[in-house]
Amino acid sequence: MAKALPGYGTIVVPEDRVVPFGAVTPAPVGTQKLFQTSNWRVVRPVRDEEKCTKCLQCYLACPDACWIYKADGETLEWVGDFCKGCQVCIQACPEDGALVAVPELDFEGGVVRLEKPF
Protein backbone atom coordinates (compact mmCIF):
# COMPACT_ATOMS: atom_id res chain seq x y z
CA MET A 1 0.00 0.00 0.00
CA ALA A 2 1.53 3.27 -1.10
CA LYS A 3 1.92 5.79 1.71
CA ALA A 4 2.23 9.49 1.06
CA LEU A 5 5.89 10.29 1.61
CA PRO A 6 6.92 13.46 3.45
CA GLY A 7 7.79 16.39 1.25
CA TYR A 8 10.63 18.85 1.39
CA GLY A 9 8.28 21.67 2.35
CA THR A 10 8.69 25.23 1.15
CA ILE A 11 11.24 27.87 1.95
CA VAL A 12 10.06 31.48 1.85
CA VAL A 13 12.65 34.09 2.73
CA PRO A 14 10.91 37.18 4.16
CA GLU A 15 11.34 40.14 1.81
CA ASP A 16 13.17 42.27 4.35
CA ARG A 17 15.75 39.55 4.81
CA VAL A 18 16.58 38.75 1.21
CA VAL A 19 20.33 38.82 0.51
CA PRO A 20 21.76 39.71 -2.95
CA PHE A 21 22.26 36.74 -5.26
CA GLY A 22 25.64 35.08 -4.60
CA ALA A 23 26.33 37.80 -2.03
CA VAL A 24 27.35 40.20 -4.78
CA THR A 25 26.90 43.87 -3.86
CA PRO A 26 27.29 47.08 -5.86
CA ALA A 27 30.78 48.51 -5.65
CA PRO A 28 31.05 52.11 -4.49
CA VAL A 29 32.03 54.41 -7.36
CA GLY A 30 33.01 57.81 -6.00
CA THR A 31 31.43 57.69 -2.56
CA GLN A 32 30.02 54.78 -0.55
CA LYS A 33 26.39 55.55 0.13
CA LEU A 34 25.83 52.37 2.15
CA PHE A 35 28.30 52.99 4.95
CA GLN A 36 28.64 56.54 6.22
CA THR A 37 31.13 57.16 8.98
CA SER A 38 30.42 60.71 10.07
CA ASN A 39 29.19 59.44 13.42
CA TRP A 40 32.63 58.07 14.25
CA ARG A 41 34.08 61.49 14.88
CA VAL A 42 34.45 63.26 18.19
CA VAL A 43 35.93 66.51 16.77
CA ARG A 44 35.62 68.19 13.38
CA PRO A 45 38.12 70.44 11.60
CA VAL A 46 37.08 74.09 11.28
CA ARG A 47 38.87 76.32 8.82
CA ASP A 48 39.47 80.01 9.44
CA GLU A 49 38.95 81.72 6.07
CA GLU A 50 41.16 84.68 7.07
CA LYS A 51 44.18 82.70 8.21
CA CYS A 52 43.96 80.02 5.52
CA THR A 53 46.45 80.44 2.66
CA LYS A 54 44.88 77.73 0.45
CA CYS A 55 48.13 75.77 0.48
CA LEU A 56 45.94 72.65 0.08
CA GLN A 57 47.98 70.50 2.52
CA CYS A 58 44.75 69.48 4.24
CA TYR A 59 43.16 68.57 0.92
CA LEU A 60 46.15 66.37 0.09
CA ALA A 61 46.48 64.83 3.55
CA CYS A 62 42.91 63.70 4.19
CA PRO A 63 42.67 59.89 3.99
CA ASP A 64 38.95 60.11 3.32
CA ALA A 65 39.04 62.96 0.76
CA CYS A 66 36.81 65.18 2.86
CA TRP A 67 38.23 68.46 1.55
CA ILE A 68 36.83 69.51 -1.81
CA TYR A 69 38.84 72.10 -3.74
CA LYS A 70 37.49 73.80 -6.83
CA ALA A 71 40.16 75.55 -8.91
CA ASP A 72 37.84 78.11 -10.50
CA GLY A 73 36.63 80.20 -7.60
CA GLU A 74 39.40 78.76 -5.41
CA THR A 75 36.86 77.34 -2.96
CA LEU A 76 37.92 74.89 -0.28
CA GLU A 77 34.99 73.10 1.31
CA TRP A 78 34.82 70.44 4.03
CA VAL A 79 32.30 67.67 3.38
CA GLY A 80 31.78 65.73 6.58
CA ASP A 81 29.99 62.55 5.40
CA PHE A 82 33.08 60.43 5.94
CA CYS A 83 35.22 62.57 8.23
CA LYS A 84 36.22 60.49 11.26
CA GLY A 85 37.97 63.33 13.06
CA CYS A 86 41.41 61.79 12.61
CA GLN A 87 42.96 65.32 12.64
CA VAL A 88 45.65 64.50 10.09
CA CYS A 89 44.59 67.64 8.20
CA ILE A 90 45.04 69.73 11.35
CA GLN A 91 48.48 68.21 11.88
CA ALA A 92 49.39 68.92 8.26
CA CYS A 93 48.26 72.56 8.28
CA PRO A 94 51.33 74.86 8.40
CA GLU A 95 49.42 78.00 9.42
CA ASP A 96 48.89 78.61 13.12
CA GLY A 97 45.18 78.53 13.89
CA ALA A 98 43.95 78.22 10.30
CA LEU A 99 42.59 74.75 10.99
CA VAL A 100 41.43 73.76 14.46
CA ALA A 101 39.62 70.83 16.04
CA VAL A 102 36.24 71.68 17.51
CA PRO A 103 34.13 69.16 19.49
CA GLU A 104 31.39 67.73 17.33
CA LEU A 105 28.87 68.27 20.11
CA ASP A 106 29.29 72.03 19.64
CA PHE A 107 27.42 71.68 16.34
CA GLU A 108 23.79 70.83 15.82
CA GLY A 109 23.74 68.70 12.70
CA GLY A 110 26.25 67.38 10.21
CA VAL A 111 26.32 63.80 11.46
CA VAL A 112 24.40 60.91 10.01
CA ARG A 113 22.05 59.41 12.55
CA LEU A 114 21.77 55.64 12.32
CA GLU A 115 19.22 53.28 13.82
CA LYS A 116 21.96 50.83 14.62
CA PRO A 117 25.70 50.67 13.96
CA PHE A 118 25.48 48.35 10.95
Partner: protein, 393 residues
Protein backbone atom coordinates in the same frame (compact mmCIF):
# COMPACT_ATOMS: atom_id res chain seq x y z
CA UNK B 1 36.83 22.61 46.97
CA UNK B 2 37.99 23.76 43.55
CA UNK B 3 37.56 27.43 42.78
CA UNK B 4 34.83 28.43 40.38
CA UNK B 5 35.56 31.33 38.05
CA UNK B 6 33.86 32.95 35.08
CA UNK B 7 35.58 32.25 31.81
CA UNK B 8 34.80 32.05 28.14
CA UNK B 9 34.95 28.82 26.16
CA UNK B 10 38.14 30.04 24.51
CA UNK B 11 39.84 30.51 27.84
CA UNK B 12 38.55 27.15 29.04
CA UNK B 13 40.01 25.42 25.98
CA UNK B 14 43.37 27.07 26.60
CA UNK B 15 43.26 26.05 30.25
CA UNK B 16 42.49 22.52 29.16
CA UNK B 17 45.46 22.46 26.82
CA UNK B 18 47.64 23.88 29.57
CA UNK B 19 46.45 21.27 32.05
CA UNK B 20 47.17 18.57 29.47
CA UNK B 21 50.70 20.01 29.19
CA UNK B 22 50.70 20.06 25.43
CA UNK B 23 54.18 20.16 23.95
CA UNK B 24 53.72 21.62 20.50
CA UNK B 25 51.15 24.24 19.55
CA UNK B 26 50.69 25.55 16.04
CA UNK B 27 48.60 28.67 15.62
CA UNK B 28 47.08 30.77 12.88
CA UNK B 29 44.56 33.51 13.55
CA UNK B 30 40.92 33.18 12.63
CA UNK B 31 38.02 34.46 14.61
CA UNK B 32 36.50 33.16 16.92
CA UNK B 33 38.98 30.45 17.92
CA UNK B 34 41.85 32.96 17.80
CA UNK B 35 41.40 33.85 21.45
CA UNK B 36 42.43 30.30 22.41
CA UNK B 37 45.80 30.78 20.76
CA UNK B 38 46.17 34.26 22.24
CA UNK B 39 45.67 32.79 25.70
CA UNK B 40 48.11 29.97 25.05
CA UNK B 41 50.71 32.39 23.68
CA UNK B 42 50.47 34.35 26.86
CA UNK B 43 50.81 31.24 28.99
CA UNK B 44 53.90 30.16 27.07
CA UNK B 45 55.41 33.64 27.25
CA UNK B 46 54.80 33.85 31.00
CA UNK B 47 56.42 30.48 31.54
CA UNK B 48 53.21 28.82 32.73
CA UNK B 49 53.27 26.33 29.90
CA UNK B 50 56.41 24.76 28.52
CA UNK B 51 55.48 24.26 24.88
CA UNK B 52 56.85 25.00 21.43
CA UNK B 53 54.60 27.70 20.04
CA UNK B 54 54.82 27.76 16.26
CA UNK B 55 53.00 30.22 14.06
CA UNK B 56 51.93 28.50 10.85
CA UNK B 57 51.47 30.34 7.57
CA UNK B 58 47.97 29.01 7.17
CA UNK B 59 45.65 26.34 8.48
CA UNK B 60 47.04 23.77 6.05
CA UNK B 61 50.48 24.47 7.53
CA UNK B 62 49.05 24.32 11.05
CA UNK B 63 47.78 20.80 10.69
CA UNK B 64 50.91 19.70 8.83
CA UNK B 65 53.10 20.98 11.64
CA UNK B 66 51.21 19.16 14.36
CA UNK B 67 51.13 16.00 12.27
CA UNK B 68 54.91 16.07 12.15
CA UNK B 69 55.18 16.91 15.82
CA UNK B 70 52.92 14.04 16.79
CA UNK B 71 54.83 11.70 14.49
CA UNK B 72 57.96 12.60 16.43
CA UNK B 73 56.23 11.78 19.70
CA UNK B 74 54.97 15.14 21.01
CA UNK B 75 51.49 15.85 22.35
CA UNK B 76 50.37 18.40 19.79
CA UNK B 77 47.56 20.97 19.74
CA UNK B 78 46.10 23.17 17.07
CA UNK B 79 42.76 24.66 16.12
CA UNK B 80 40.72 26.62 13.65
CA UNK B 81 37.30 27.98 12.70
CA UNK B 82 35.12 28.18 9.62
CA UNK B 83 36.98 28.16 6.32
CA UNK B 84 40.23 27.54 8.17
CA UNK B 85 38.95 24.06 8.94
CA UNK B 86 38.23 23.42 5.29
CA UNK B 87 41.55 24.89 4.16
CA UNK B 88 43.36 22.14 6.07
CA UNK B 89 41.14 19.43 4.59
CA UNK B 90 43.97 17.61 2.82
CA UNK B 91 45.63 16.70 6.11
CA UNK B 92 42.72 15.18 7.98
CA UNK B 93 42.82 11.75 6.43
CA UNK B 94 46.62 11.33 6.69
CA UNK B 95 46.37 12.40 10.31
CA UNK B 96 43.73 9.83 11.11
CA UNK B 97 45.18 7.07 8.98
CA UNK B 98 48.66 7.70 10.36
CA UNK B 99 47.13 7.37 13.85
CA UNK B 100 48.47 10.65 15.27
CA UNK B 101 46.35 11.63 18.31
CA UNK B 102 46.57 15.38 17.80
CA UNK B 103 43.81 17.57 19.20
CA UNK B 104 42.23 20.29 17.14
CA UNK B 105 40.03 22.77 18.95
CA UNK B 106 37.30 24.22 16.80
CA UNK B 107 35.22 27.27 17.60
CA UNK B 108 32.55 27.08 14.95
CA UNK B 109 32.10 29.72 12.34
CA UNK B 110 29.99 29.78 9.21
CA UNK B 111 31.69 28.93 5.99
CA UNK B 112 32.14 31.67 3.39
CA UNK B 113 30.53 33.27 1.42
CA UNK B 114 30.63 35.92 2.28
CA UNK B 115 32.32 36.18 5.66
CA UNK B 116 30.15 35.77 8.73
CA UNK B 117 31.67 35.24 12.16
CA UNK B 118 28.56 33.56 13.53
CA UNK B 119 28.47 29.92 14.50
CA UNK B 120 27.35 27.07 12.30
CA UNK B 121 28.45 23.48 12.77
CA UNK B 122 29.07 22.88 9.08
CA UNK B 123 32.77 23.65 9.31
CA UNK B 124 33.70 20.71 11.51
CA UNK B 125 30.81 18.55 10.29
CA UNK B 126 32.23 18.67 6.77
CA UNK B 127 35.23 16.67 8.00
CA UNK B 128 33.24 13.88 9.57
CA UNK B 129 34.20 11.26 7.00
CA UNK B 130 37.92 11.77 7.54
CA UNK B 131 38.31 9.41 10.46
CA UNK B 132 38.69 11.75 13.41
CA UNK B 133 36.88 11.71 16.72
CA UNK B 134 34.40 14.56 16.63
CA UNK B 135 32.32 15.95 19.47
CA UNK B 136 30.56 19.10 20.63
CA UNK B 137 30.49 20.92 23.95
CA UNK B 138 27.59 22.99 25.24
CA UNK B 139 29.28 25.12 27.87
CA UNK B 140 32.77 26.44 28.69
CA UNK B 141 32.98 23.86 31.47
CA UNK B 142 32.33 21.09 28.99
CA UNK B 143 34.96 22.52 26.63
CA UNK B 144 37.57 22.17 29.36
CA UNK B 145 36.34 18.71 30.26
CA UNK B 146 36.18 17.55 26.64
CA UNK B 147 39.73 18.79 26.04
CA UNK B 148 41.01 16.46 28.73
CA UNK B 149 38.70 13.58 27.91
CA UNK B 150 39.51 13.73 24.19
CA UNK B 151 43.24 13.50 24.80
CA UNK B 152 42.68 10.58 27.12
CA UNK B 153 40.48 8.77 24.61
CA UNK B 154 42.50 9.70 21.52
CA UNK B 155 45.84 8.68 22.97
CA UNK B 156 44.57 5.37 24.32
CA UNK B 157 46.44 2.63 22.46
CA UNK B 158 43.17 0.99 21.50
CA UNK B 159 42.25 4.20 19.67
CA UNK B 160 45.26 6.37 18.60
CA UNK B 161 43.18 8.86 16.62
CA UNK B 162 43.11 12.65 16.30
CA UNK B 163 40.22 14.48 17.94
CA UNK B 164 38.23 17.60 17.18
CA UNK B 165 36.79 19.32 20.25
CA UNK B 166 34.15 21.73 18.98
CA UNK B 167 32.27 24.64 20.56
CA UNK B 168 29.87 27.18 19.12
CA UNK B 169 31.60 30.39 18.12
CA UNK B 170 30.53 33.43 20.19
CA UNK B 171 27.89 31.69 22.32
CA UNK B 172 30.31 29.36 24.03
CA UNK B 173 33.61 30.80 22.92
CA UNK B 174 33.01 34.43 23.90
CA UNK B 175 30.32 34.54 26.57
CA UNK B 176 31.73 33.79 30.01
CA UNK B 177 30.16 31.19 32.25
CA UNK B 178 31.13 29.33 35.41
CA UNK B 179 34.06 26.94 35.08
CA UNK B 180 35.82 24.83 37.69
CA UNK B 181 39.36 23.94 36.68
CA UNK B 182 40.96 20.69 37.76
CA UNK B 183 43.84 20.40 40.18
CA UNK B 184 47.11 19.20 38.68
CA UNK B 185 46.89 16.02 40.75
CA UNK B 186 43.47 15.24 39.29
CA UNK B 187 44.67 15.88 35.74
CA UNK B 188 47.76 13.73 36.21
CA UNK B 189 45.63 10.88 37.54
CA UNK B 190 43.18 11.13 34.68
CA UNK B 191 45.49 11.80 31.74
CA UNK B 192 48.64 9.72 31.40
CA UNK B 193 51.50 11.02 29.24
CA UNK B 194 51.41 10.42 25.50
CA UNK B 195 53.17 7.20 24.52
CA UNK B 196 53.56 7.07 20.74
CA UNK B 197 53.63 3.61 19.20
CA UNK B 198 56.08 4.05 16.30
CA UNK B 199 57.49 7.56 16.56
CA UNK B 200 60.01 8.92 14.10
CA UNK B 201 63.31 8.07 15.72
CA UNK B 202 67.03 8.08 15.09
CA UNK B 203 67.58 4.84 16.99
CA UNK B 204 64.63 2.88 15.57
CA UNK B 205 64.09 4.38 12.15
CA UNK B 206 60.60 3.99 10.64
CA UNK B 207 58.85 5.34 7.58
CA UNK B 208 55.51 7.08 8.00
CA UNK B 209 53.01 7.06 5.15
CA UNK B 210 54.67 5.18 2.28
CA UNK B 211 52.84 4.34 -0.95
CA UNK B 212 50.55 1.27 -0.84
CA UNK B 213 49.05 -0.89 -3.59
CA UNK B 214 45.29 -0.99 -4.27
CA UNK B 215 44.98 -4.45 -2.73
CA UNK B 216 46.41 -3.09 0.51
CA UNK B 217 43.88 -0.28 0.59
CA UNK B 218 40.88 -2.32 1.68
CA UNK B 219 42.63 -3.99 4.63
CA UNK B 220 44.01 -0.60 5.68
CA UNK B 221 40.51 0.90 5.68
CA UNK B 222 39.10 -2.15 7.42
CA UNK B 223 41.66 -1.93 10.19
CA UNK B 224 40.79 1.73 10.71
CA UNK B 225 37.12 0.77 10.85
CA UNK B 226 37.92 -1.91 13.42
CA UNK B 227 39.21 0.83 15.70
CA UNK B 228 35.88 2.58 15.58
CA UNK B 229 34.21 -0.60 16.81
CA UNK B 230 36.46 -0.47 19.87
CA UNK B 231 36.15 3.26 20.64
CA UNK B 232 32.76 3.38 22.39
CA UNK B 233 34.09 1.26 25.24
CA UNK B 234 37.07 3.59 25.65
CA UNK B 235 34.74 6.59 25.71
CA UNK B 236 32.60 4.98 28.41
CA UNK B 237 35.64 4.15 30.53
CA UNK B 238 37.13 7.62 30.19
CA UNK B 239 33.85 9.38 30.96
CA UNK B 240 33.31 7.23 34.05
CA UNK B 241 36.87 7.82 35.20
CA UNK B 242 36.39 11.55 34.69
CA UNK B 243 33.32 11.49 36.89
CA UNK B 244 35.20 9.59 39.57
CA UNK B 245 38.19 11.95 39.62
CA UNK B 246 36.68 15.36 38.88
CA UNK B 247 33.15 14.81 40.19
CA UNK B 248 31.40 15.90 36.99
CA UNK B 249 29.27 13.21 35.45
CA UNK B 250 28.46 13.18 31.74
CA UNK B 251 26.42 10.68 29.80
CA UNK B 252 29.16 9.32 27.53
CA UNK B 253 27.26 9.80 24.25
CA UNK B 254 23.85 11.40 24.62
CA UNK B 255 22.69 13.74 27.38
CA UNK B 256 19.14 12.71 28.12
CA UNK B 257 17.03 15.45 29.65
CA UNK B 258 13.54 14.50 30.82
CA UNK B 259 13.45 11.92 28.06
CA UNK B 260 12.23 8.89 29.98
CA UNK B 261 8.52 9.67 29.71
CA UNK B 262 8.66 12.07 26.78
CA UNK B 263 6.30 11.83 23.84
CA UNK B 264 8.14 14.36 21.72
CA UNK B 265 11.82 15.23 21.86
CA UNK B 266 14.36 17.71 20.57
CA UNK B 267 17.57 16.22 19.21
CA UNK B 268 20.22 18.89 19.38
CA UNK B 269 23.92 19.58 19.67
CA UNK B 270 25.94 22.53 20.99
CA UNK B 271 25.09 25.86 22.61
CA UNK B 272 21.40 26.05 21.81
CA UNK B 273 20.79 22.94 23.87
CA UNK B 274 20.87 25.25 26.88
CA UNK B 275 17.91 27.16 25.53
CA UNK B 276 16.31 23.80 24.69
CA UNK B 277 16.64 22.60 28.27
CA UNK B 278 14.93 25.74 29.56
CA UNK B 279 12.24 25.28 26.90
CA UNK B 280 11.66 21.68 28.01
CA UNK B 281 11.18 22.86 31.60
CA UNK B 282 8.80 25.57 30.51
CA UNK B 283 6.75 23.32 28.21
CA UNK B 284 6.55 20.62 30.85
CA UNK B 285 4.91 23.13 33.19
CA UNK B 286 2.29 23.60 30.48
CA UNK B 287 1.73 19.86 30.37
CA UNK B 288 3.65 19.02 27.19
CA UNK B 289 5.57 15.76 27.56
CA UNK B 290 8.74 16.90 25.90
CA UNK B 291 12.37 15.91 26.41
CA UNK B 292 15.76 16.65 24.94
CA UNK B 293 18.56 14.42 23.67
CA UNK B 294 21.85 16.25 23.31
CA UNK B 295 24.46 14.61 21.14
CA UNK B 296 28.01 14.76 22.46
CA UNK B 297 29.89 12.65 19.92
CA UNK B 298 29.29 12.84 16.17
CA UNK B 299 32.13 10.42 15.50
CA UNK B 300 31.77 7.71 16.64
CA UNK B 301 28.03 8.11 16.09
CA UNK B 302 26.17 6.41 18.96
CA UNK B 303 23.72 4.45 16.84
CA UNK B 304 22.42 2.01 19.41
CA UNK B 305 22.47 4.49 22.26
CA UNK B 306 20.27 6.87 20.28
CA UNK B 307 17.88 4.11 19.33
CA UNK B 308 17.60 3.25 23.00
CA UNK B 309 17.22 6.82 24.16
CA UNK B 310 14.70 7.94 21.53
CA UNK B 311 13.01 4.68 20.57
CA UNK B 312 9.96 5.20 22.77
CA UNK B 313 9.41 8.81 21.70
CA UNK B 314 6.63 9.43 19.19
CA UNK B 315 8.16 12.37 17.32
CA UNK B 316 11.69 13.72 17.23
CA UNK B 317 12.66 17.18 16.02
CA UNK B 318 16.29 17.44 14.96
CA UNK B 319 17.52 20.99 15.53
CA UNK B 320 20.16 21.50 12.89
CA UNK B 321 22.72 24.27 12.89
CA UNK B 322 24.57 22.97 9.86
CA UNK B 323 23.68 22.59 6.22
CA UNK B 324 23.87 19.77 3.74
CA UNK B 325 22.63 21.27 0.51
CA UNK B 326 20.96 18.74 -1.70
CA UNK B 327 21.04 16.14 1.06
CA UNK B 328 18.30 13.57 1.36
CA UNK B 329 16.24 15.77 3.64
CA UNK B 330 17.23 19.01 1.91
CA UNK B 331 18.27 20.45 5.24
CA UNK B 332 21.07 19.59 7.64
CA UNK B 333 23.19 16.52 8.24
CA UNK B 334 22.31 15.22 11.69
CA UNK B 335 18.92 14.01 10.53
CA UNK B 336 20.30 11.48 8.07
CA UNK B 337 22.22 9.56 10.67
CA UNK B 338 19.51 9.89 13.27
CA UNK B 339 16.89 8.43 10.97
CA UNK B 340 19.31 5.64 10.12
CA UNK B 341 19.80 4.92 13.81
CA UNK B 342 16.04 4.64 14.35
CA UNK B 343 15.23 2.81 11.13
CA UNK B 344 15.34 -0.73 12.47
CA UNK B 345 13.07 -0.16 15.45
CA UNK B 346 9.70 -1.89 15.33
CA UNK B 347 7.78 1.23 16.26
CA UNK B 348 9.97 4.02 15.03
CA UNK B 349 9.42 7.67 15.89
CA UNK B 350 8.40 10.22 13.33
CA UNK B 351 11.39 12.40 12.56
CA UNK B 352 11.59 15.90 11.15
CA UNK B 353 14.18 18.62 11.33
CA UNK B 354 14.34 22.33 12.04
CA UNK B 355 17.03 24.54 10.58
CA UNK B 356 17.82 27.01 13.35
CA UNK B 357 20.68 29.14 14.52
CA UNK B 358 22.10 29.36 11.02
CA UNK B 359 24.45 32.23 10.38
CA UNK B 360 25.10 32.20 14.09
CA UNK B 361 21.71 33.60 14.98
CA UNK B 362 20.06 33.12 18.31
CA UNK B 363 17.41 30.41 18.63
CA UNK B 364 14.69 32.01 20.70
CA UNK B 365 12.69 30.27 23.43
CA UNK B 366 9.61 30.96 21.31
CA UNK B 367 11.18 28.96 18.47
CA UNK B 368 11.23 25.88 20.68
CA UNK B 369 7.56 26.42 21.48
CA UNK B 370 6.88 26.50 17.74
CA UNK B 371 8.87 23.31 17.19
CA UNK B 372 7.06 21.55 20.01
CA UNK B 373 3.78 22.56 18.39
CA UNK B 374 4.79 21.01 15.07
CA UNK B 375 5.95 17.82 16.77
CA UNK B 376 2.74 17.51 18.76
CA UNK B 377 0.78 17.98 15.53
CA UNK B 378 2.78 15.19 13.93
CA UNK B 379 1.97 12.87 16.82
CA UNK B 380 -1.73 13.63 16.53
CA UNK B 381 -1.87 13.07 12.78
CA UNK B 382 0.51 10.11 12.97
CA UNK B 383 2.55 11.30 10.00
CA UNK B 384 5.53 13.40 9.04
CA UNK B 385 4.40 16.18 6.77
CA UNK B 386 7.83 17.41 5.72
CA UNK B 387 11.47 16.51 6.30
CA UNK B 388 12.62 19.99 7.14
CA UNK B 389 11.36 23.34 8.42
CA UNK B 390 13.51 26.42 8.07
CA UNK B 391 12.81 28.54 11.18
CA UNK B 392 11.61 31.98 10.22
CA UNK B 393 11.28 31.14 6.52
Amino acid sequence: MAKESMMTGCRAAAEGAKAAEVEVICSYPIRPYTAIMMELAKMVADGELNAEFIHGEGEHAQVSVVLGASAAGARAYTGSSGVGVTYAMELYSPMAGGRYPVQMTIADRTLDPPGDFGSEHTDAMSTRDQGWLLGWACSPQEVYDNTLMSYRIGEDHRVMLPQMVCQDGYFISHIPDKVILGEMSQVKEFLPPYRPIHPLSLTNPVSHGPQIRPDQGAPMDAMRAQTFLAIPKVIEEATADFARIFGRKYDPFVEQYKLADAEIAFFIMGAHSNTARAAVDRLRKEGVKVGMARLRWVRPWPTHQLAEALGHVKAVGVVETSTSYGGAMRGGNLIHELRASLYDLDDRPLVTSFMGGLGGETIWPADFDYMAGILSGMVKEKRTDRYVYWLGM
